[in-house]
């Protein structure tokens, strides 16, 4: 299966969002708690929230990370119920972004 490395390799790059002097990266761990996991509509919610912020935001699962502003990227992470994910944000509004995403995860995306 040939996947152009330029398209999706950036997942690895986003995974490694690093702190630098100007803008430190902050991160938080969540567990996907809704029964259906991150399916299309949930991913849409995440992306919608992420896109409101200027910061770079990634969602990582074990080795791989996804750009939280790309629905295809988020969906390709495959996060069923119980998956442990690591959300990282870096940029001017990183704290707010993380806060908003935390709210989504904690309310189980409004699902059972």
């Amino acid at each position: 299966m040939l996947i152009d490395p330029r398209t999706f390799a950036n997942r690895r790059e986003t995974a490694l969002i690093q702190s630098d002097e100007e803008s430190p990266a902050i991160a938080q761990e969540f567990i996907v708690a809704n029964r259906l996991g991150i399916h299309a509509r949930v991913a849409a919610q995440i992306v919608k929230v992420a896109c409101r912020f200027d910061s770079e935001i990634s969602i990582a699962k074990s080795e791989v990370a996804a750009n939280a502003k790309s629905i295809l990227d988020v969906l390709s992470l495959l996060c069923p119920y119980g998956t442990k994910v690591f959300v990282t944000a870096r940029g001017p509004d990183a704290a707010q972004a993380l806060h908003a995403l935390a709210a989504l995860f904690q309310t189980k995306f409004g699902e059972p």
Binding site: I3, D4, H39, A40, A44, S70, L72, D73, S76, L78
Partner: protein, 607 residues
């Protein structure tokens, strides 16, 4: 070739007739993707712009579809949102732009390539249903863009070059409007019922249709030969020689019969004992006048004016409305034409009115209420109608969704204002233009005796009257079975409205679908309806039955019917009566008539 097995799917017979032809699957139209290299910076910049515009257009399309989705399918709206996000996803949007700029690929090729990568990513992850449905999302979003780039806008309905049977999950109202009667042999959809939008459009175009055929899209492949029986709801995929012969014979029989009665369609709608009624046409665009006249319409009983207000960015100006109404009056003169003022909900006019959060638009700001609220729209339309009324003095003005006297007073007041303004400007109009009310709400029936003193005619809109009096949304499949035109309560309401109208000396028409249903002819005649207004294609059959009915017998029959207790009982009585009086009509249109006649109305064939 008798050994091969055909496949039969059962749906709901939604529009009568038999179609035999090649299937055209609406959703999976593949579009050829041209590939070329862009030459020069300017070409690249232009292509980027073209790509951006296509994405924006696709987004707007999805937005429109989202708005048109009924509340019970809100889940679908969310999936469309996913598609919208996919359009803007970096791995589609960003990657396509990169491909155009760096590889100098044309936009279609760039999009196709990025789509393929995304799909490969998902299929490399897993092969389960999850990945499959993600791929389906990506496809749906991508194909829309590719279609726009290829110049195949919105839907591929226009690309049908052969006469075929259209097979789709569902037809949106937008799709249905684009159906071309000449090229569409039949319609099959997976969802919908007898009274869904698709069915109504199909019946009005005289196209055989079956709705609610589960899995039709999966079972039927592009170019399969299919038989669609719009009477019984049967779809036969890849039919055998003997099945083909059987249905071809039925088809021939039906067409021969229709041809025969169409030859007499121009004769007046007069019963065998010389009671004269009027048979008129409901139309929406001027082009339908040809069909109306061909089928023997004695006038236009309902001109729907919504068409001009929908699907456009700006309010239509008075001049274009005037030209339309003027042409209508001129083409139909000296026969009368009844123009209904704007009958739309606020949700359809989002370009001009503020969007309202209405939990229940059917009970919301719509129709005459909307017109009285946004008076400028109403006045513009009234001015156009009044000016056109001078053309041949054959225009009647009709107000929809009247609930009581206040709306009549208010509308008349506005009409007088507009008339005064025209007089001041010395613009001619018909001062005696009849002013009528549609009777669609139970409260209007209760007030009919007083309303009749203020207006010149009534026209009963049975579709809405049935919905509002029984209290059901007929597009809601869970309660659609309660949509019973022969409900004794509905018949009593109709009788009350007719009697009130006649007591005041004004004529009463029916312009709902009941008027175009041959089965109901004896009932409506017996209720003393003066004018039947219907889809043009229904005219020959209804006129034929009117001419063969005896008014005396119908009145006696209705007296008996009005004492019955349930819709089922009435349905059976009606079936028995028409079977006895017009056996040939039902031999041709419903093979299972005798069987259906004994079943509850729920199973009623829609012939």
């Amino acid at each position: 070739m008798n050994d091969h097995s055909s496949l039969t799917v059962k749906g709901i017979g939604a529009a009568p007739g038999i179609a035999i032809g090649k299937a055209f699957l609406l959703e999976h139209g593949r579009i050829p993707v041209p590939r070329y290299r862009l030459f020069g910076e300017q070409a690249v910049a232009d292509e980027c712009k073209r790509f951006e515009q296509a994405i924006a257009e696709a987004e707007a399309d999805l937005e429109t579809i989202k708005k048109s989705i009924r509340s019970e399918f809100k889940e679908h709206a969310k999936l469309l949102e996913v598609q919208q996000m996919i359009l803007r996803d970096p791995s589609i949007y960003g990657e396509s732009l990169r491909c155009i700029k760096e590889e100098r690929a044309n936009a279609q090729l760039a999009v196709t390539k990025s789509l393929r990568k995304a799909k490969e990513l998902f299929s490399s992850l897993s092969n389960d249903e999850y990945a499959q449905s993600r791929i389906a999302d990506v496809n749906a979003a991508g194909e829309r863009v590719v279609r726009i780039l290829a110049g195949h806008n919105h839907t591929n309905l226009e690309n049908i070059h052969e006469r075929s049977v259209i097979v789709a999950h569902d037809l949106s109202p937008g799709d249905a409007i684009q159906l071309q009667a000449g090229r569409t042999l039949g319609i099959v959809t997976e969802i919908g019922g007898i009274f869904s939008h698709t069915s109504i459009v199909a019946r009005s175009l005289g196209i055989p249709a079956v709705t609610g055929a589960e899995n039709a899209v999966r079972l039927i492949s592009q170019n399969d030969i299919v038989i669609v029986d719009g009477r019984t709801g049967v779809i036969i995929i890849d039919p055998s020689e003997s099945e083909l012969q059987f249905y071809a014979n039925r088809q021939y029989e039906m067409e021969a019969y229709l041809k025969l009665i169409s030859r007499h369609a121009h004769l007046p709608a007069q019963t065998s004992d010389n009671h004269r009624v009027s048979a008129e046409a409901n139309i929406e665009v001027l082009e339908e006048i040809v069909a109306a006249k061909d089928n023997g319409a004695e006038g236009i009983g309902l001109y729907r004016t919504e068409f001009f207000f929908m699907n456009r960015a700006e309010l239509p100006d008075e001049e274009s409305l005037y030209r339309d109404y003027h042409d209508l009056a001129e083409l139909m003169a000296p026969s009368q034409v009844t123009i209904r003022t704007l009958d739309l909900g606020a949700d359809k006019l989002t370009s001009w009115c503020p969007t309202l959060e209405e939990a229940n638009p059917a009970l919301g700001l719509r129709s005459i209420r909307l017109c009285l609220h946004y008076q400028e729209i109403f006045k513009t339309q009234l001015r156009a109608i009044l000016r056109a009324s001078a053309t041949a003095r054959n225009i009647r003005l009709m107000l929809p969704l009247i609930s009581g006297m206040a709306e009549i007073y208010q509308a008349k007041h506005i009409l007088r204002e507009v008339q005064a303004e025209l007089s001041r400007k010395r613009i001619p109009f018909d001062k005696d233009m009849p002013f009528g009310a549609m009777i669609e709400l139970p409260s209007a029936v209760a007030m009919a005796d007083l309303l009749a003193q203020e207006v010149d005619f009534f026209s009963i809109g049975t579709n809405d009257l049935i919905q509002y009096s029984i209290g059901i949304d007929r597009s809601n499949e869970h309660v659609a079975y309660l949509y019973e035109p022969l409900h004794p309560g509905v018949l009593r309401l109709i009788k009350q409205a007719v009697d009130a109208g006649h007591d005041a000396g004004i004529p009463v028409a029916v312009c709902g679908e009941m008027a175009g249903e041959p089965l109901y002819v004896p009932i409506l005649l017996g209720l003393k309806i003066d004018s039947f207004s219907m889809n043009p294609v229904a005219l020959p059959r209804v006129k034929n039955l009117i001419r063969r009915s005896s008014m005396k017998e119908c009145c006696r029959f209705v007296n008996k019917v009005l004492r019955m207790r349930t819709a089922t009982e009435i349905q059976q009585a009606v079936s028995k009566m028409v079977m006895r009086n017009f056996p040939e009509e039902f031999r041709v249109f419903d093979q299972n008539w005798a069987e259906n006649a004994t079943l509850p109305v729920l199973k009623k064939s829609s012939c």
